[in-house]
């Protein structure tokens, strides 16, 4: 069967889908959230080239959407898989977004009209921005079709929204459809690629950093939104407590990671670099700010990475300090960073701190693994059958895992793996077909 299922529309899944489609296969791309793009869509710039993340990703997202060989199921989940390599039967649950994708032109009139416009924290902005009960996750979302948030929409919470739902009234093409119901779609595919990516650890479980208690302690992903021109502050660096531009910022590495005693022994592999990028961005936005990076080991192991860090130090004057930290807060909501320098206790007052937290498989990765029948490790990373020569093959033939859901990796590696899985799928389906033909000719 010349078809494949890709689960997860981050950069790894997008690449896999595109390469398979270009190779002539029929591809179904199932994305859980209302839009494809994954984490990369949330990033401001990307190391080590400082390319604008969404600017280089958006064309690929659109290509994916427009490709005649790709069918995109957004806001959908895989709920059942049966069969074997070459012949999987997959059940996909399509959640109602209450907007007809066929009719919607993406104008956004409904969003403007929503009576609860701007009331709720926006997931895409990691809670820093606001949205209504009907919203686009972000401007370049693909598909560019709004989604109704049932948890907040008045029609669901109060049973009615004025005389007529405001969004429905505003839509000139009649795309709002509150009659939509969950739908289960059955697909037949020859192979499956899992590319579900990561979730950051919620650092409020780690008391020493004060996240959740101190307003000016934020996560790196929140920072990416804060510094982004399309983010909640339009790229103006403002600290959460009072909206002031921070003059001193600390970036803290290995938050929750590399801690064998807590059972989270591993290293997320991208934080040294992304926080260096984020530190550089502070200096580009506010050249006078002082920036400190607290690290354990600087792991700058990719092409151009060491040079990038050298530039951060020499050109941008970012100060790197090798130490773990403890964070306290004073009355002005400034933060006191306690650290250690060659055995001596030291303190540093900063206006804001950014945590590079451990990055883990998606919270539901193990559930998905159970549906697929494949093995994961203790954290939920999809485990390869043969770490060395078949790194993308999972424990089940015909099912492959790529990108961050397999192990921590950066964007280029995720892209390379997306392509690589496409090669494995083409190889597998080719050999199954050849075997089928042989069998056919024997008969």
């Amino acid at each position: 069967m010349r078809s494949a299922l890709v689960i997860g529309g981050g950069v790894a899944g997008i690449q896999a889908a595109l390469d398979l489609a270009e190779r002539g296969l029929q591809v179904y791309l199932v994305e859980k959230s209302p839009t494809i793009g994954g984490r990369m869509a949330q990033l401001d710039k990307t190391f080590p080239t400082n390319d604008c993340s969404i600017c280089i990703l958006a064309p690929k997202m659109i290509e994916c959407f427009r490709h005649p060989n790709i069918t995109l199921f957004s806001y959908s989940e895989v709920i059942g898989v049966e069969g074997v390599a070459g012949d999987f039967r997959v059940r996909v649950l399509k959640k109602p977004r209450y907007v007809d994708e066929g009719k919607c032109t993406g104008c956004g009139a409904c969003i403007e009209a929503c009576r609860l416009r701007g009331r709720f924290p926006n997931e895409f902005d990691e809670g820093l921005g606001r949205r209504g009960a009907i919203y686009f996750p972000f401007m370049q979302a693909v598909p560019r079709v709004p989604v109704v948030d049932k948890r907040h929409c008045l029609l669901f919470t109060k049973g009615k929204c004025g005389k007529q739902p405001a969004c429905k009234e505003a839509c000139e093409v009649g795309a709002i459809d509150f009659e939509q119901r969950e739908e289960v779609i059955e697909l037949k595919v020859g192979a499956i690629i899992v590319a579900t990516g990561f979730d950051p650890l919620d650092p409020s479980v780690l008391r020493e950093y004060g996240y959740g208690r101190f307003e000016n302690v934020i996560t790196a992903l929140q920072y990416e939104r804060l510094i982004c021109a399309s983010g909640p502050t339009r790229g103006h660096l403002q600290r959460p407590s009072d909206g002031k531009e921070p003059k001193r910022i600390a970036f803290i590495h290995c938050v929750g990671s590399r801690n064998p005693r807590a059972g989270r022994y591993y290293c997320s592999a991208v934080c040294c670099m992304h926080s260096t990028k984020e530190a550089i961005l502070v200096k580009e936005h506010c050249p006078d700010a002082e920036v400190f990076v607290f690290y354990r080991d600087m792991r700058a192991f990719g092409k151009g990475f060491t040079e990038y860090i050298e530039r951060a130090k020499s050109e941008y004057g970012i100060k790197y300090i090798k130490s773990d930290v403890l964070i306290e807060e004073n009355e002005e909501h400034n933060l006191m960073i306690k650290y250690d320098e060659r055995g001596r206790q030291r303190r540093l007052e900063v206006d804001m701190a950014v945590l590079s937290t451990l990055l883990m498989p998606r919270k539901d990765a193990k559930e998905l693994a159970a549906v697929l029948g494949v093995k994961t490790d203790e954290f939920g990373f999809f485990e390869p059958a043969d770490e060395l020569l078949r790194p993308l093959d999972t424990s089940v033939p015909g099912i492959f895992a790529v990108g961050f859901c397999r192990r921590p990796m950066d964007i280029p590696e995720s892209v390379a793996e997306g392509s690589a899985a496409a090669a494995r799928v083409a190889e597998l389906l080719g050999s199954l077909e050849a075997r089928g033909e042989e069998r056919g000719s024997e008969e």
Binding site: E22, K303, G343, L388
Partner: protein, 573 residues
């Protein structure tokens, strides 16, 4: 298509309120109607909706349009859509012009409605002037020879070859050495597995040799390469003479070498028991390691801001693997490092294991490098500054292992010139885009994987090799490539053969070739630039660099651009 009457149609989009809320769309339509050559103009609530599209289709028929201008959002997302509609209505898709009055007018001038409207008019006027001069273009398609050349028979090259072969393509695998296997042939163990590298190589070699689709050339090198994607002519020089091959795509999998410290650095080549990590691997493999009680590893020798600027990614892991091996034999191991680079899951686990088993890790800084001397009792003595304790220490040892980075092969430059692909500042082969095209070269049809790209381990090399195979299989399976229609052309009469365009073209699309000129009696052979239409991406760089204006780009000709600019600079009230 300059002959005949110009019949331009203009479609202006409201994009709901996105444009219509700021720009007076109706006024723009009225304005467009009066422009020279325009026979029809209309507005649409959403030009991109199925209704809007059928309006374009109908208007082309109804008004016999031979040019279409759409003033709407961004060509990045929407141009292909409108072009397709033109084609459906029988109009060549290059007779279409796009104006962005959303990003360039309504979105950036939200507070200046009037001026936004005037700007929209200006942009439409420019587009109409250019559209009048547009010409139909043809998308040429070229056949692809369904075979691949893979250069380098290490784990990356063999993996790529095997994958392409099982996808059904013929593969030529060219290996410089007498045997396949690459670096792995010299290693004693691997940090990911208990299996020996030898076994792993044997397995792969057996598969490669048993595959009828793969033809292996051992002890062979590439003598020359000419042609372009789909049609490469390759000359392989083997012991038995030169062999000519035809390939549709090329994969570079030539691996890397290992840095050799200069004589005397940390006593290298001066004291017998100062060896590199690669030498240690070799000795362990051959069972030649002398009895040792204490061993000191020094990391980052020649790397990270020294002779080489970069961190070589895998040496920490390769070193710790060997440290553990020695530790298991009861050897005392100290590792002098500059930060331990063990990212991810397995490596960090290995690092924790090494610490648990008593491998001592001590950090040093570039500012205070360790040194190695002969000790009084004939052993080696390592002096180093313990950064975390702020003291200078001395350690007697039997052996010092210098952990050095992987470096580009000596002949990388030569190969890159032959293939017309680039090397980065670090000397490794350079991919088309560091983030999103990690295994493509900028030149179409040539791909890259393994340590030739940058130091990496076996699993990473395998993933990349598969990735390169996937990318390479796309033109191979399709059987043809479609060239960019908006390419550049050289006017040979004007070209002075200076070759500046050849140097600057990022896609290796231009070459100087001999042209025979007949000037009356005199026959002259001179160099003229020629652009390969298959490789040209229409970036226009060469157009800008040509000192005599001999290059013109289709659909962006001087004439067309000047026509648009002329409109831009005329003030209209």
């Amino acid at each position: 298509m300059r002959e005949g009457e110009l019949r331009i149609g203009v479609f202006v989009c409201h994009c709901g309120v996105n444009i219509g809320g700021i720009v007076d769309v109706e006024a723009v339509v009225e304005y467009a109607k009066a422009l020279p050559g325009v026979v029809h103009a209309e507005r649409n609530l959403y030009t991109c909706s199925s209704e809007g599209l059928s309006r374009i289709r109908a208007a082309i028929k109804e008004h016999n349009l031979n040019r279409v201008v759409v003033a709407a959002c961004t060509p990045r997302t929407h141009a292909p859509l409108f072009q397709k509609v033109c084609e459906e209505a029988g109009l060549n898709k290059y007779l279409f012009e796009f104006v962005n009055i959303r990003e360039q007018c309504s979105w950036v001038h939200t507070h200046e409605k009037e001026r936004a409207t005037r700007k929209a008019m200006d942009l439409v006027r420019m587009a109409v002037a250019k559209a009048a001069l547009l010409e139909p273009q043809e998308e040429l398609s070229f056949e692809v020879t369904p075979s691949a050349l893979v250069i380098g028979g290490g784990v990356a090259g063999m993996t790529a070859a095997l994958n392409l072969a099982s996808q059904g393509f013929d593969v030529y695998l060219v290996e410089r050495e007498k045997e396949l296997g690459g670096r792995l042939r010299t290693l004693a163990s691997l940090y990911q597995t208990e299996e020996t590298p030898e076994k792993i190589i044997q397995k792969l070699v057996k598969e490669v040799e048993g595959n009828k689709k793969i033809q292996v050339f051992q002890g062979a090198t590439i003598k020359s390469v000419s042609g372009y994607i789909g049609n490469y002519d390759v000359l392989v020089s083997t012991e038995g003479g030169d062999i000519a091959l035809k390939a549709g795509v090329i994969i570079v999998a030539t691996g890397a070498s290992v840095y050799e410290p200069p004589t005397g650095l940390y006593g290298y080549r001066k004291y017998e028991n100062v060896i590199t990590l690669a030498e240690l691997e070799q000795r362990l493999k051959e069972g030649q390691l002398p009895e040792v009680r204490d061993v000191v590893f020094i990391h980052c020798v020649g790397a990270r801001g020294q002779d080489k600027s970069y961190c070589s990614r895998i040496c920490c892991a390769a070193s710790i693997k060997n440290a553990l091996r020695l530790r298991r034999r009861g050897v005392n191991v100290t590792i002098l490092h500059r930060g331990v680079t063990m990212p991810g899951l397995e490596k960090e686990r290995l690092y924790n294991e090494a610490r648990g088993r008593g491998v001592i890790f001590v950090r040093y800084e570039l500012e205070r490098l360790p040194s190695v001397q002969r000790s009084e009792n004939g052993r080696l003595e390592v002096t180093f500054y313990h950064e975390d304790l702020s003291v200078e220490l001395k350690l007697e040892t039997d052996m010092v292992v210098l952990v050095t980075p992987m470096v580009p092969n000596d002949d990388a430059k030569e190969l890159s010139t032959m293939l017309k692909v680039s090397l980065g500042a670090d000397g490794f082969f350079l991919e088309a885009h560091v983030k999103l095209r990690p295994v493509d070269f900028a030149t179409d049809g040539i791909f890259l994987c393994g340590a030739a790209h940058f130091p990496k381990d076996v699993a990473e090399s395998v993933a990349q090799a598969l990735s390169a195979a996937a990318r390479a299989s796309i033109p191979l399976s399709r059987g043809y490539v479609v060239a960019e229609a908006i390419s550049s052309v050289v006017d040979e009469k004007r070209c002075i053969g200076c070759g500046r365009c050849v140097e600057i073209c990022p896609y290796g699309a231009i070459a100087l070739r001999d042209v025979t000129l007949q000037l009356g009696e005199v026959v002259l052979v001179t160099k003229k630039s020629h652009i390969n239409p298959v490789l040209c991406k229409g970036c226009g760089t060469c157009v800008a660099v040509c000192p005599v204006g001999a290059i013109d780009q289709r659909n962006f000709t001087f004439e067309q651009i000047i026509a648009a600019l002329r409109e831009a600079t005329t003030t209209v009230t």
